[in-house]
């Protein structure tokens, strides 16, 4: 499923945070949303999650206007992983992943055998089999992040949006999370958008970069944005050099 933004204006009430946003989140690709603090990454992501209304423009899911979809329909199309720390007690990993089945289960939320299968599959895909019976509040931040990703897999949404999933993680967990998401995009055909401050990681793993600047949103593959000097200009800073060939920023000595 593709998620297309046409001339989107985002903001709160009368305050415009960014406008003229045109971008497409493509099926089977992982996109990274990058920008300085205050550029409006969170606002954009919240707008895409439909947690807040857009001020103008259109959001289309496979050509269908999102504003015409019910909350129930949306819950089967867009899955989210947020920065909100889920610190429920007395709930196992398996139970939390199974919450992703809510849009599909009956009035009482009872899991059918096929739901159980989907939950186990989501646990397997994210590689958290060993954690499945653990309590959520005993997990590390990295493990918790994977559990929430498994929840969106159980939710079976073609679109997955993640708000800074690598923040607060140690380096190996950051790499692991990014590679997991990339694998899910490529192997499961998910359309994945991640907001992140981990520039190096994003440059090396993303299929597409969404650069959120002061004026507008620039979208393209990392290599193309490196070649045409966009990246170097975007992160222009007297203290760093950009190596377009290696897709690397280095600190000037």
């Amino acid at each position: 499923m593709t998620y297309e933004l046409i001339d989107l204006t985002i903001g709160y009430g009368k305050t415009v945070v960014a406008d003229g946003i045109n971008a497409t989140l493509e099926e089977g690709k992982m996109a990274c949303l990058i920008g300085q603090n205050g550029a409006g990454k969170s606002t954009l992501l919240r707008t895409l999650c439909c947690f807040q209304p857009s001020l103008d423009g259109k959001k289309l899911l496979d050509g269908k206007d999102v504003s015409r979809l019910s909350a129930q329909e949306l819950s089967t199309m867009i899955g989210v992983v947020l920065t909100d720390r889920v610190d429920v007690q007395g709930m196992t990993v398996r139970e939390l992943v199974a919450m992703g089945r809510s849009p599909y289960t009956d009035f009482w939320g009872k899991l059918k055998p096929e739901d159980e299968t989907i939950v186990e599959e989501a646990i397997r895909l994210t590689g958290i089999e060993a954690l499945a019976s653990r309590q959520i509040n005993t997990l590390s931040d990295g493990e918790r992040q994977k559990v929430m990703i498994a929840k969106t897999l159980a939710q079976q949404t073609p679109i997955i949006l993640l708000d800074e999933p690598t923040a607060f993680l140690d380096f190996p967990s950051k790499v692991e999370t990014m590679l997991l998401l990339k694998r899910l995009a490529h192997e499961q055909g998910k359309s994945i958008l991640i907001s992140t401050h981990d520039l190096d990681l994003a440059l090396q793993t993303a299929d597409t970069l969404w650069l959120m600047g002061k004026s507008s949103l620039i979208v393209g593959p990392p290599s193309a944005l490196a070649q045409d000097n966009t990246l170097a200009l975007f992160f222009a800073n007297p203290n760093v050099n950009f190596n377009a060939g290696e897709l690397r920023f280095t600190i000037k000595r």
Partner: protein, 335 residues
Amino acid sequence: MSRRLTIPILILSVAVLAMANLVWGSVSIPLADTVSILLGKGASGHPSWEYIIMDNRIPQMLTAALTGASLAVGGLLLQTTFRNPLAGPSILGIDSGANLGVAIVMLLLSGTMTLGSMTLSGYLLVIIAAMLGAGCIMALLLVFSQKINSHLMLLITGIMVSYITGSLISLLNFGATEQGVHAYMMWGMGNFSGISTERLPLFAALCGLGLLSAFLLMKPLNALLLGEHYARNLGYSIKPLRTKLLLVTGLLTATTTAFCGPITFLGLAVPHLARLATGTHNHRTLLPATMLTGAILALTCNLISTVPSSGSIIPINIITPCIGAPIVIWIILKK
């Protein structure tokens, strides 16, 4: 797993305590005679025992069990909705609304109507006043809930509202007669024995309606455990859901407060006990467990209130904090 036995054990405890509530009291009636009275055979040589059991202890036992269950479930709904372990039916000001209604009837109108004496019509008037008071505060909260997005801010608004009603009650107390103040104070101490056999069906129906509605909200309650945003992403519209939860809690709180007075601490403490007993926050298990634990605690309090005294009953609100507060402290220490 011993956890699987939790619910059956709780059910058994409710049954045992319910029976104990029939057997023990200011007049001791042997178990054999109690059973025979329950079976409709009566007790030989003690015609008054039948009256005590059927018209006195059964309504009181049922009132205690229903009140405990209702307040506990009300507390659980609020704790889940606001994701706050300290939320309880009294914190949103719903029961202080009932208090205000009763205070107006007892303190402001006591000069013209003898309601403090708890005559039949007076008691009915107290119930109506409590219901109206709780209803007004509920309506006010629902209006606020449409305007306020943040759960925490809504909670604080509720606390502010209960401060205002509290101050109005103080004003009414200040200007009232000694007799009125005493009657109001006695009502405020809580009482499971005020519901007669004739009024029990209405009370049970209102409590039953609230408890049933709570069960119907089990699935969205679980989604709310993940927080507002995740619940939204799972397809729930938060404001309508919150409105439903507030209405159910309001019904449960208003009903019990109107009929039994403001019973403190059960709503706050019981959900914690139930979580400890079941080891889960999943409402599929937690909701029934909370209901049963609420009944158990209320029946225990009722037993304590009648057993040691000779003839008179210790007010419920003297007992509930003595049991409820140590439980909450114990849970905090255990963490």
